[in-house]
């Protein structure tokens, strides 16, 4: 469960998020909004990449802050561009990176990596160079890098924008089967329609909050009236 209490973010005197309060309990939560609406900042608040100027964020009742790294470990974050999430030149090195501070032994790390790769049928990528992977493979490796750390909640920023149709459907099928709670920021309205709850963020505020059908149709009307 994520609880956001009166959270505001401002940078250089510009308000990016006004005081927002919301409690997220549903297993699949979507976030939509225009470019620059503050939705990316909202997503990054959830794992401490952005810090609240005012208010506080709680993950399972533990506040996220500098002194609470366990809470951060419970929230995984998948970035929009896997090229910027994959840090190491070889797949196995990259996957091992997140597990460095887990206290697992080298062998445990190795076996965990192979187990996860096998589970997604990607064992053959183990020793590959990361910059030679296809776009779809990169996105999956970035996701596996997060799954390996067994977070309770996963935040995904625009997971489908860089994928072709085939890879999109592979990813969506995979996401649907995950036991973790998901919070997905996306412009992909077809994907957003399948969420349990949808937040629409506009001008740093939660503009609407409710069932996907209601929020999407209001969002469509808004977008068309603006243009």
């Amino acid at each position: 469960m994520i609880k956001i209490e009166n959270v505001g973010v401002s940078k250089e005197n510009k308000t990016i998020l006004a005081a927002i309060s919301v409690t997220l309990t549903e297993p699949r939560i979507g976030i939509i909004g225009s470019n620059g609406s503050g939705k990316s900042t909202f997503a990054k608040l959830l794992n401490g990449l952005e810090r609240a100027t005012t208010g506080a964020v709680f993950v399972n009742d533990a506040p996220i802050g500098k002194n609470n790294k366990t809470a951060l470990g419970k929230v995984g974050f998948v970035f929009q561009n896997p090229d910027n999430q994959i840090v190491f030149p070889i797949v196995v090195e990259d996957l091992a990176f997140g597990l460095k501070k887990s206290g697992l032994s080298k062998q445990q790390i190795q076996s965990r990596i192979t187990t996860y790769l096998e589970q997604f049928g990607l064992r053959h990528l183990l020793e590959r160079r990361t910059h030679e992977l296809s776009g779809g493979e990169k996105q999956l490796i970035a996701l596996i890098g997060v799954l390996l750390m067994e977070p309770e909640i996963i935040v995904l920023d625009e997971p489908t924008t860089l994928l072709d149709l085939r890879n999109r459907s592979i990813l969506l099928k995979l996401l649907a089967e995950l036991p973790q709670k998901l919070i997905i920021v996306s412009h992909d309205l077809a994907l957003m329609a399948e969420m349990d709850r949808l937040l629409w963020i506009e001008n740093g505020n939660i503009h609407q909050d409710g069932s996907p059908e209601a929020v999407i149709s209001a969002y469509r009307q808004f977008a068309e009236s603006e243009s």
Binding site: F77, I86, K101, S102, G103
Partner: protein
């Protein structure tokens, strides 16, 4: 681009610890400058050639190692003969040849990855843990960034070509640098997001292990 000139083999030179070889190299080259005479240079030069034989490295590799320095050495040789003497010219050139071959021998008998691993081990031992970790992260990131920078440069080149700028340095350099800086900042964020403590994993693992036994 990322392959060194390692020449596989089983000789004692291949199996000696990398840092020991580095140390020996510096020692030998210091000797060559401190004792500035043929009496020191000749035996060391012969020893280096002998070591090439022991390491089983073919003569063609020796020529390859010297090729990049060829024009520079020729230039120095001519200048020395012109202003000084043939004897001094040959001494200076032979000293360069000896040093370059000794250094190349190190590269030929040591894998890059082993050398970097040895260096990391060295840092781990003598530096605080977080500094050693930062250094080894920096090494890995370099390998990650080389293809990224090249790809970004190619994309910018293509975009500028489409706009009619051909090989205009200003139109290429600035956008390439700014785009890679932005990527670098996102990678920093990803590293921060991914290097959080996940000690619950080992706790869960121990529980699993206990249940199994």
């Amino acid at each position: 681009m990322l392959t060194s000139t390692y020449y596989a083999g089983q000789s004692f030179l291949h199996t000696t610890r990398p840092l020991f070889k580095v140390l020996a190299l510096f020692l030998v080259c210091t000797l060559l400058f401190v004792f500035d005479t043929w009496f020191v240079l000749t035996p060391i030069c012969l020893a280096v050639f002998g070591l090439y034989g022991i390491a089983g490295i073919p003569r063609s590799e020796i020529l390859l190692a010297l090729r990049p320095a060829f024009w520079m050495l020729l230039f120095i040789f001519i200048v020395q003969i012109y202003f000084e003497s043939l004897q001094l010219a040959s001494f200076v050139i032979l000293r360069f040849v000896t040093m370059i071959l000794a250094a190349s021998l190190l590269t030929l008998t040591t894998k890059t990855s082993d050398l970097i691993a040895a260096l990391e081990q060295f840092f781990n031992r003598f530096l605080p843990e977080h500094i050693a970790e930062t250094i080894s992260l920096a090494f890995s990131l370099c390998f990650r960034f080389i293809p990224l920078v090249r790809q970004t440069f190619d994309e910018v080149t293509e975009a500028q070509k489409a706009r009619g700028h051909h090989k205009d340095w200003r139109a290429l350099a600035t956008p390439t640098i700014i785009r890679t800086l932005k990527s670098a900042d996102e990678i920093s964020q990803a590293i921060i997001a991914r290097s959080v403590e996940t000690s619950h994993l080992s706790a869960a693992n121990e529980r699993r292990d206990r249940e199994h036994s």
